[in-house]
Amino acid sequence: MGCAVTAQLAIFFVLATLAVLGALSLIFQRHPIHNALSLIVVMIALAGLYLLMGAEFVAAVQIIVYGGAIMVLFVFVIMLLNAGVEERTNVSKLAGIAGIPLAVALLGFLAAAIARSNESAQAGLQSGTLANTKEISTMLFREFVYPFELTSFLILVAILGAIVLAQREKS
């Protein structure tokens, strides 16, 4: 059992570092494509963590929808606009001077607050058995059916938006 624990911890830390690194490279890479790739890294790492927590379905969705669909869409757009290396303009004084420190401060505060909060400490045993896909699906189609149906309209809106915004002017 103990070794399992250590193994899980090890995996967690590997994936966590991976995710953080990915995030950092998202920040410091200058070419959008690299950004996209590093984001994908983050997502895959997260998917791994989900698996580690035993949320297979979410992990799968993460890979398929996020990694697959959304990021592909990103890459596609990047190609479409053949976006080049990002230019480091510094028009915004505020962002240039105070932006990073403030954001980091926010980060630090969030992390610290969560770390110090007692609730998150009462971490129950992780057991992959709970919250299986079947349960999720039943919830989705029973109590959450209304929002679920609404999302369909939401996607309709998205399509509509894509048409309205991106279609080339005929006239």
Binding site: E143, V157, V164
Partner: protein, 489 residues
């Protein structure tokens, strides 16, 4: 837990369903029907239908879908409000879209979807539903903001709105996540159990407040408002200023009503937000020369006034004698009057702006009082209502906010609000001065005043009438808003 949503559930969310349905219907009709009148009529019918759809909920209010949404007087009021706004916006937009040569089916569809989203948001008792509703309205808004594709400003406003909006949404979501972590639920009704000392709850509520504060344009999150409002097509601006804001406020109120902890944590936040917002809006508006932008700033200021009432809610809720009821009433009444006035004003602006929204500078309004007396009179009426002068609805709205502020002994906040009203008076009066007391430039005087189409006149008639009527006989509305079971408990 019902096996499948029974009819009462569906009937209670009928308005949203109708709006969505008509939205979809419009998209289906769009390729088939060429006539704009038909599409407009359908859209209007849809919007009205949503309002009519409340009939069931009115007579037997209650929760639907096992407490995901509530159809109580509160949400009914809001679905009336947003429905009304939708009707007015659609009516007002028709001629605008013709003039700008923009497709209308999509526009109406988006408006209806956005309306539906707001309806959901206002009636949500479950943060998940609220989130979906929020996104529905937001995403439609992003698109609408950029609806004048070829106009740089429109695209820019759309982009800014989108980026910052989703940024804020992320905060909102994270807040939900934390709250969920503490309480183990996302259902507002079930959250009372949470012990209000918990750090995570505080943090979560803080983040939720940030997310919603962005939607209602509370300083310093108001920063996006002027740009987006100015860039968006004017009818859309009208929608923005009235609808999403109201819905977001509605959600905040629900959180107040249900999450006990919120009333404890949020007081000073609201105090400060209110003060900042009022000043940001009014001072920022002082030097504006673009009417549309001026109105945008003024809407920030008004959000500030409403936030004053929120600060009052936090204290009145604790006061056993009075209770938060009057504060709720004040807020809702204000939202109603404010929506009417803003939609009216923006409709005039959208008409007067002319093709490509060229005539939005103060100088373009010079001598309006002589060239188009009725338009000038109406616009002045709306401005005076915004400024809060008696016999206009705006006055009573402001009056009740003052009242609850004083009742909850927020004297100094009330005084700050008073000071702000003076500052506000300055720029509203300035616009009136321009309209009545400046001579128009030669070429402006030469231009024949464009006659407003019927639909627009209808909108103006409704808004103007509402402004006066609510200013003189608000009792029925207020009694409705003051009823004990406003939130159905």
């Amino acid at each position: 837990m019902p096996a499948f949503p029974n009819t009462s559930d569906l009937l209670r969310v009928l308005p949203e369903l109708i709006w969505c349905g008509f939205g979809a219907l419009l998209m289906l009709l769009q390729p088939l029907v060429k006539s704009r009148q038909v599409l407009t009529t359908v859209a209007v019918i849809g919007a009205l239908g949503g309002i009519v759809g409340n009939f069931y909920a009115v007579h037997n209010p209650g929760a639907a879908f096992g407490g995901l949404v509530a159809a109580d007087p509160f949400s009914i009021f809001f679905s009336h409000l947003v429905g009304l706004v939708a009707v007015l916006v659609i009516l007002g937009a028709d001629s605008y879209l013709r003039r700008e040569g923009l497709a209308d089916a999509e526009f109406y569809a988006l408006v209806l979807f956005a309306t539906a989203g707001m309806g959901v948001l206002a009636s949500a008792q479950e943060l998940l539903t609220a989130f979906i509703g929020l996104e529905m309205s937001s995403i439609s808004s992003y698109i609408l903001a950029g609806y004048r594709r070829d106009a740089l400003k429109s695209g820019e406003s759309s982009m800014k709105y989108f980026l910052l909006g989703s940024f804020a949404t992320a905060f909102f979501l994270y807040g939900i996540a934390l709250v969920y972590g503490v309480t183990g639920t996302t259902n507002l009704l079930k959250m009372d159990s949470a012990e209000p000392t918990s750090t995570l709850l505080k943090l979560g509520l803080a983040l939720i407040l940030i997310g919603l504060g962005f939607k209602v344009a509370a300083a310093p999150f108001q920063i996006w408002t002027p740009d987006v409002y100015e860039g968006a097509p004017t009818p859309v601006t009208a929608l923005f200023s009235a609808g999403p804001k109201a819905a977001a406020f509605a959600l905040l109120l629900r959180i107040f009503a249900d999450v006990h902890a919120a009333t404890q944590f949020w007081f000073w936040a609201f105090w400060i937000l209110a003060a900042l917002t009022m000043f940001a809006g009014n001072l920022g508006a002082l030097l504006q020369t673009n009417v549309k932008r001026l109105l945008a700033y003024s809407s920030i200021a008004h959000a500030g006034y409403i936030l004053v009432a929120f600060a009052a809610v936090t204290t009145l809720a604790k006061d056993p004698e009075i209770g938060a009821g009057p504060a709720y009433a004040a807020i809702l009444f204000y939202l109603l009057t404010y929506a009417l006035v803003k939609v009216g004003a923006f409709t005039i602006v959208s008409q007067y702006g002319g093709a490509g929204e060229k005539h939005l500078q103060f100088d373009d309004f010079a001598g309006l009082g002589e060239r188009q007396p009725w338009v000038a009179a109406l616009l002045s009426l709306f401005l005076l209502s915004l400024l809060g002068l008696p016999v206009t609805a705006g006055f009573l709205g402001k009056f009740y906010i003052f009242k609850v502020a004083v009742d909850s002994h927020l004297i100094w906040l009330a005084v700050l609000m008073a000071v702000n009203s003076i500052v506000g008076a300055y720029y509203y009066v300035r616009l009136i001065v321009v309209m009545y007391m400046r001579e128009p430039s030669a070429e402006l005087a030469a231009t024949v005043p464009a006659r407003f189409p019927l639909s627009v006149n209808v909108v103006l008639a409704i808004t103007a009438f509402g402004t006066i009527f609510l200013g003189l006989f608000p009792s029925k509305t207020l009694n409705y808003l003051l009823q004990a079971n406003l939130l159905n408990r």
